[in-house]
C-alpha cells in the first residue's frame, strides 16, 4: 500500500479557461498509506475528476501525482498498480467466482499454491468461500460488486483501491450489509482506499477521513467527528449533519457579542474589525430550558417536526430561525414562548462563511 500525494494539481477540461472555471482548482493533498478516505460533495464538485487523476484516467492540466514519492503523473492507469471498483460490477461472466479472483494473480504469474491461498483468504473475508465454484454471472449485484472489490484485494502489492460510488446499483436493503462488509475488509487488509460518493452518511460510516469538496475546491479534510464538531465553513456545517447547523448573526457594539440585545458569552475572541459575525450551533446542542440564565434567549416556537425518537423544534430567536433537536420523552413545549439556551462551548464563530480560529 502506498501513500498518495497530490502536489499543486489542478485541472481544466476546457484548455485556456480562467482558473475560477477549472473543474479542479490547484490543490495539495496527502492520502496516507493504509487509511480510508472518502471524497464527498454535490455533483460537479470535482470529486470524480480528482479520483480520475489518481487513477490516471485524466491527466491533470498542472501539478504532480506521487505514489510513495514516485512521480506517476505521466503513467497510464495500467502502470499505476491500482485496483478500481466502479458503480457497476465488472466481472468476467464466463469464469467462476474462483477464477475471477485468481485472474489478476495469474496475470502476474504467481505460482498456483500462492494464488490458491490468497484467493481462499479473500473469499473467506468476502463470504464468498462457499460459492467459489459457481459461475460469476449467476450472482446478485451485491455479490458481483464484492468480486470486483476482491479482485483488488487479492493483489497485496496494490498501491491503492479507488472506488467510485460502488453502492449505487445495490438494493437499499443490501446496501447496509455490503457497506459493513467493505468496512470490515478494509480494516482487515488495510489498503489505501479513496472512495467517491455523493452520500455524506455513507462516507462517514465508511471512511476514516473525509474530504468535502465544492466548486472544484477541497473545503475541509478531517475525521467525521472533526467535520461535525468544528466545520471549517458554513457550507460544511450545512452539508454534514441533519438537520444542518444553525447560524445566527450576532451584533457587537464596542462590547461583548449580543443576540437580540442580550449578551452572548462565547469561548473565543476575534478582532473588533471583523465585520459580520455569525455564530454556529448544532441543533443537538441547542436546549429548550425552563429557567432564564446566561446565554439563554427568549424565543418563539414556530413548528414541531416529529422524527420519531427525536423531535425537531423550529424556534425563532431575535428574528432568526433556530432548530433544536430534543428527545421524544421531553415532549413539546406547552407555550409558544420558550427559552433557548446556546451553550458557550458549542457556539463557534464564522465570518464570510469561514470558521474564524478560536483563541
Amino acid at each position: 500500500m502506498a501513500q498518495l500525494d497530490i502536489v499543486d494539481v489542478g485541472h481544466a477540461y476546457a484548455p485556456g479557461a480562467e482558473e475560477e472555471r477549472w473543474a479542479l482548482k490547484p490543490l495539495n493533498l496527502t492520502f496516507e498509506s493504509g487509511k480510508t478516505y472518502a471524497l464527498v460533495g454535490p455533483s460537479g464538485c470535482g470529486k470524480t475528476t480528482l479520483l480520475n487523476i489518481l487513477s490516471g484516467l485524466v491527466r491533470p492540466s498542472q501539478g504532480r501525482v506521487l505514489f510513495d514519492g514516485v512521480d506517476v503523473t505521466a503513467l497510464p492507469t495500467k502502470a499505476r498498480n491500482i485496483a478500481q471498483v466502479f458503480q457497476f460490477p465488472v466481472i468476467y461472466k464466463s469464469m467462476t467466482v474462483y477464477e475471477n479472483l485468481a485472474f489478476p494473480l495469474q496475470c502476474r504469474r504467481w505460482d498456483k499454491a500462492r494464488i490458491d491461498a490468497k484467493v481462499r483468504q479473500v473469499a473467506e473475508a468476502l463470504d464468498l468461500h462457499d460459492r467459489l465454484r459457481q459461475p460469476a454471472r449467476g450472482l446478485t449485484a451485491d455479490d458481483k460488486q464484492l468480486i470486483s472489490l476482491g479482485r483488488g484485494l487479492v493483489r497485496d502489492d496494490v498501491a491503492a483501491v479507488l472506488m467510485d460510488e460502488p453502492l449505487t446499483v445495490i438494493d437499499p436493503q443490501l446496501k447496509h450489509s455490503l457497506r459493513r462488509k467493505i468496512r470490515e475488509i478494509t480494516e482487515q487488509f488495510r489498503p489505501t482506499v479513496i472512495y467517491v460518493t455523493h452520500d455524506q452518511y455513507e462516507a462517514m460510516s465508511f471512511a476514516q477521513e473525509l474530504l468535502v469538496m465544492k466548486d472544484g475546491r477541497a473545503v475541509q479534510q478531517g475525521t467525521p467527528e472533526q467535520l461535525f464538531e468544528a466545520p471549517s465553513s458554513t457550507y460544511v456545517g450545512y452539508f454534514i449533519g441533519s438537520p444542518a447547523m444553525n447560524f445566527l448573526t450576532v451584533d457587537r457594539n464596542d462590547g461583548p457579542f449580543a443576540l437580540g440585545g442580550q449578551p452572548l458569552s462565547v469561548a473565543w475572541d476575534i478582532p473588533q474589525s471583523t465585520t459580520e459575525v455569525q455564530v454556529g450551533v448544532r441543533p443537538e446542542y441547542v436546549k429548550i430550558v425552563t429557567d432564564p440564565g446566561p446565554n439563554t434567549f427568549p424565543g418563539r416556537l414556530r413548528g414541531v417536526s416529529d422524527h420519531g425518537a427525536q423531535r425537531v423544534l423550529e424556534v425563532e430567536v431575535a428574528g432568526q430561525p433556530v432548530r433544536a433537536k430534543t428527545p421524544r420523552e421531553e415532549g413539546v413545549p406547552v407555550s409558544e414562548e420558550v427559552l433557548v439556551h446556546l451553550p458557550r462551548a458549542r457556539a463557534l464563530p464564522y465570518a464570510d462563511g469561514k470558521l474564524i480560529l478560536r483563541s
Binding site: 468496512r183 460510516s205 441533519s242 438537520p243 416529529d306 420519531g308 425518537a309
Partner: protein
C-alpha cells in the same frame, strides 16, 4: 369522498403482494405507507391507480365501484420514485402536457402551470429542458405536473428515494407545506424511511409482506406499535427486540447476568416475553452487560453502534458523530423503564409509561 379499500388480495407465483388490505383514505389527509422494499407499497398504489389488476377485494369511491372505473376516469395522478419527464419538452411543456390533453383553455393551462411551478419553487425554470436540471429539480417538475392536474387522488411512490440526503431533507420540509395546501385531495405517499413517514403523515399505515399491520396517527404507531414487526419498521434503526422473562416486575434477558426492575411491568403476569428497546434507550456506559462492537454507522447527526451481547444483537444510538472502533468491548446500559413488552407471538402488551396510555383490551 373517501376511497375505501376492502380485502384487496393479489398473489403472484405463490407470493402475497397484497393480502387482505383494508383501509380508508380520506380527503384532505396525507397518508404515509411505510414498509421495507417488497412490502407491497407500490403494488397498492398501482392497484389504486388502476395500473394493476387484483385477484379479489373491492375499491369504492363515493359509493361507486372504483375497480370498474377505467384508469383515465379515476381522477388520479401518480409520481414515481424514478422521476419521469418528457425530455423534448421544456419545464412548462412538461407540466402543461396532461392539461393540454384534457383540453383546457390556453389561459387556464398557463394559470395552472405557473401556480404549480411556483408551489414547487421552479417559477423561473419554465424554459429549461429537463436535462438542464438537477435530480431534485426534475422530481419537482414531475411533482408540479401531478399537482397541476388538480386530481382528487395524488399517489406518490417514494418520490425522494433517488435523491441525496440534503435534498431529501429540504424537499421533505417543502412537501409538508405543499401537501397541507391541497384542499380535498387524498394524498397517499409511500416511503421506507420512518422519519419521513412520521414527519409527513397525518395517518401512517405500516405495511409488511402485503399486509397492513397497523394504521394510526404517527404518535399512535410510534408510541404503541401493535407488534414487534411494526416496532422494527417504524424505528430507524429498528427497535432492539430480544427474548426474556418477567418475574415480579423483574426482567431477565437470556445471556445477561443482570436483572432489571421495570416498575411499569410490575402488574404484568410472570412468564416469557419479547422485549423491545429503542436504540436511543440503550447507551454505552462504564458498567453494564458487555458486548463486542461489530459495526458503526453514521446517519445524519447520530452514530449507530452495533453491539453483539452473547448471541443477541443490539443497536445503540448516540447523539453526535463519534469514533468507535470495530471489535471493541463495550458495556451497555439498558433503560428498564423504557422497555416495551410483547407476548411470545410478538403482540404488544405493555408500553413504557411516557408513551400513550397502555393498550386497551390487552
Amino acid at each position: 369522498m373517501n376511497l375505501s379499500v376492502t380485502d384487496l388480495c393479489l398473489t403472484v407465483d405463490g407470493v402475497d403482494h397484497l393480502k387482505n388490505v383494508t383501509a380508508t383514505f380520506r380527503p384532505g389527509r396525507l397518508h404515509t405507507v411505510i414498509g421495507r422494499t417488497m412490502a407491497g407499497k407500490t403494488t397498492l398504489l398501482r392497484a389504486l391507480a388502476g395500473l394493476q389488476k387484483v385477484d379479489s377485494g373491492s375499491l369504492t369511491r363515493a359509493g361507486a365501484d372504483f375497480l370498474k372505473t377505467p384508469v383515465w376516469r379515476r381522477d388520479t395522478a401518480m409520481v414515481y420514485q424514478q422521476f419521469i419527464n418528457y425530455p423534448h419538452l421544456n419545464v412548462f411543456g412538461n407540466v402543461a402536457f396532461p392539461l393540454k390533453r384534457a383540453g383546457l383553455s390556453r389561459d387556464e393551462i398557463q394559470r395552472r402551470v405557473r401556480q404549480s411551478l411556483a408551489s414547487v419553487g421552479l417559477a423561473d425554470f419554465e424554459k429549461r429542458k429537463p436535462s438542464q436540471l438537477s435530480g431534485g429539480q426534475q422530481q419537482r417538475v414531475a411533482m408540479a405536473r401531478a399537482l397541476a392536474r388538480g386530481t382528487g387522488i395524488l399517489l406518490l411512490d417514494e418520490p425522494l428515494a433517488n435523491l441525496d440526503y440534503k435534498l431529501r431533507e429540504q424537499l421533505r420540509d417543502e412537501f409538508k407545506a405543499l401537501f397541507s395546501d391541497q384542499g380535498d385531495t387524498i394524498v397517499i405517499y409511500t416511503t421506507t424511511e420512518p422519519a419521513e413517514a412520521m414527519m409527513l403523515g397525518d395517518v401512517v399505515l405500516v405495511m409488511h409482506e402485503g399486509r397492513i399491520l397497523q394504521t394510526g396517527t404517527p404518535q399512535e404507531v410510534f408510541e404503541r406499535p401493535a407488534t414487534t414487526t411494526v416496532a422494527s419498521i417504524i424505528n430507524d434503526p429498528p427497535m432492539n427486540i430480544f427474548a426474556g422473562r418477567l418475574e415480579g416486575g423483574q426482567v431477565t434477558v437470556a445471556g445477561f447476568q443482570a436483572t432489571h426492575v421495570s416498575a411499569h411491568l410490575a402488574d404484568q403476569p410472570d412468564g416469557a416475553y419479547q422485549f423491545g428497546l429503542r436504540a436511543t434507550d440503550v447507551s454505552l456506559a462504564s458498567s453494564g452487560v458487555e458486548g463486542e462492537v461489530t459495526f458503526v454507522e453514521i446517519s445524519g447527526s447520530e452514530t449507530f453502534v452495533h453491539v453483539v451481547v452473547g448471541e443477541t444483537p443490539f443497536v445503540v444510538q448516540i447523539e453526535g458523530i463519534h469514533d468507535v472502533a470495530l471489535g471493541d468491548l463495550v458495556k451497555l446500559r439498558l433503560r428498564p423503564d423504557r422497555l416495551f413488552a410483547f407476548d411470545e407471538q410478538g403482540t404488544l402488551v405493555r408500553t413504557p409509561s411516557y408513551a400513550l396510555a397502555s393498550v386497551e383490551g390487552c
